[in-house]
Subunit: 204 residues, 4 copies
Amino acid sequence: MARLERGPGRLVAFSDGVFAIAVTLLVLEIQPPEDFTHLARGLGELWPSYLGYALSFLLIGQVWVNHHVMFDHIRHVDREVLFLNTVLLMVIAFLPFSTSLLAGALRADAGLRTAVVVYGSTLWTAALLFNIIWAHLRRAGLLEASLDVRAVRSIGHRFALALLWIGSGIVVGAFVPVAGVVIIAAFLPAYYLPIRGEYGSDPG
Amino acid sequence: MARLERGPGRLVAFSDGVFAIAVTLLVLEIQPPEDFTHLARGLGELWPSYLGYALSFLLIGQVWVNHHVMFDHIRHVDREVLFLNTVLLMVIAFLPFSTSLLAGALRADAGLRTAVVVYGSTLWTAALLFNIIWAHLRRAGLLEASLDVRAVRSIGHRFALALLWIGSGIVVGAFVPVAGVVIIAAFLPAYYLPIRGEYGSDPG
Amino acid sequence: MARLERGPGRLVAFSDGVFAIAVTLLVLEIQPPEDFTHLARGLGELWPSYLGYALSFLLIGQVWVNHHVMFDHIRHVDREVLFLNTVLLMVIAFLPFSTSLLAGALRADAGLRTAVVVYGSTLWTAALLFNIIWAHLRRAGLLEASLDVRAVRSIGHRFALALLWIGSGIVVGAFVPVAGVVIIAAFLPAYYLPIRGEYGSDPG
Amino acid sequence: MARLERGPGRLVAFSDGVFAIAVTLLVLEIQPPEDFTHLARGLGELWPSYLGYALSFLLIGQVWVNHHVMFDHIRHVDREVLFLNTVLLMVIAFLPFSTSLLAGALRADAGLRTAVVVYGSTLWTAALLFNIIWAHLRRAGLLEASLDVRAVRSIGHRFALALLWIGSGIVVGAFVPVAGVVIIAAFLPAYYLPIRGEYGSDPG
């Protein structure tokens, strides 16, 4: 066990596996139309499934990037991190279900309010776990000594921002479902763009 | 083949893959409700599926941790280990099926006794294989020389404890199914907490 | 984050995971016949599924090879590459759906025109992303200095060729669906064969 | 591309991914009984699915071991190896389908002859590809120089034996299906046991 606490290597590899599989399973939620004689029309009616597929794929891709941002700065992991990370993966691996709810509600034009709240809450719980893990890493002194204080704080801010942003999406989505989806989707470009002053310069 | 017997690296990587996939496939057992007009209620009725999902995800996560505890202390693997590990993975990869039985029985309010026994037996067989592999590693002298005798014994005790604990869950579950599930679930916190004196102190 | 930009190692590992899963999920699209009393005949009627399976498996295998050709020559990745690669994987992971459309249309003998265009367009979009990523790598100076100019250009030509070839398959397929499939399939041998003068000689 | 030909590292990692996924997907072919009131009986009737699951899991596990035996002795891979390995993976990833045919035919008590021939042929094709790849590696001089001639020959014999053994299973299975399955299953213990004089002694 001592050795298990040394480096995050295997935890990262296992997590990468779950991310890669969760993202690839999303396509199984898209069912081809039954009627092939009017295939083009049938495919057009599946637009909510494509939307859900693209949104969830890009969001999980983003979570994957942030998972690395977090675990790149860890010296070793303890049992709490192992447990919290498993719960985080459990939430991520649940997204294909939330996605099929969202797509199904859009297609049925019913239950959209519930579906958006469930979808947002899945993401929000993932964001919450990021915040809990980061706080634990700081408190338990598991971060690399070389990581400067400003970076620790700015990464923490970023994780807190996710919580607020997606939380707003859920609240708005409970009243105007489509607006909630738009807010959550708007999180993607905001997150891929670097935040000014947050990270070091481009390596050479 | 000589080389295959040198290190457990590839065996661990292959096993990690199976663990990651088994855990992520669990979500496919949760079917969205057909009726989206009463989505919230329909989702509420799926609680046995969520329970099964969470329970199995955390249990497989724990098995994964223990798999590393075991294979971190191996110098090399022989054909017996290769074979026994394949059987272990076969049992783990069967858990999504056992989980959907458990969730289905809770939802149908029928066959719960059988479902709990099958679910528990799947886990118990995995625990049995851990004990067999560990005994073989000790007997065949495949463990690292640096591993001290106390650690070897305490890891062995831990694996034996799993056998007893889950065995009790099955026996109780055969009479009072819900109590059996509770016993098996109670194994999770008991296992994530470090056992006093078993492992070295926190590094660094 | 600085560290994230250093090497493409993790991006490649994550991508390999998605490729491996996408390719293996293809088999789930093939449904066994319902009637086992005339199994041989039932299996014979599934030929479009086998065709789709083999074609998509080999094409994804080829995309995987080319993904490595591209990322073997990268010094580090930036946020744009991370984002573009995620979009590329999203397109690849969509192929099992496009494949089941193609097989379904061949089996139903209906909607084949649409299915071939959708199938080809999925591949074409993947090829487009290869071209965009390669152009970005060149422009942003992310390629290894040791890579000579001729190689950069010939790899670029290869990616551009894919765009033209598959584009032709789509255009032809919109009129004569089967001919479109043949053109896309013909891309496989053309691509596995080394192009004269493009790469260095066989090592050692 | 030059670099791609240097080591088999990535090819092995990608292949391991496909093996791990194919093996884990096998469980999706086992459908829980619809009727939970007589669950024990319903589960009993699923025995062909368990048999198919265990047989295919252990066989793929064995193929995985042999894949490593083969690629551990390779200095570098060329385009032919890349292509042949992709075809090999395509055949392996097809096994979940063949397995569900075998289980379905046993359950329906119909079409068993066809199912056994298809199942055996899938395995036989995999064995054939092993032989082709090994012959190519020898002919093209891609094997490690340190590998002695006796080992090269004995590995080759092993691959040829697989071809004969499974071939016999198919021929017998075409007349007495159950006997064919028994022959194929008997291949497992024969293969896990070391062959006298074939490999070096146990490392110390």
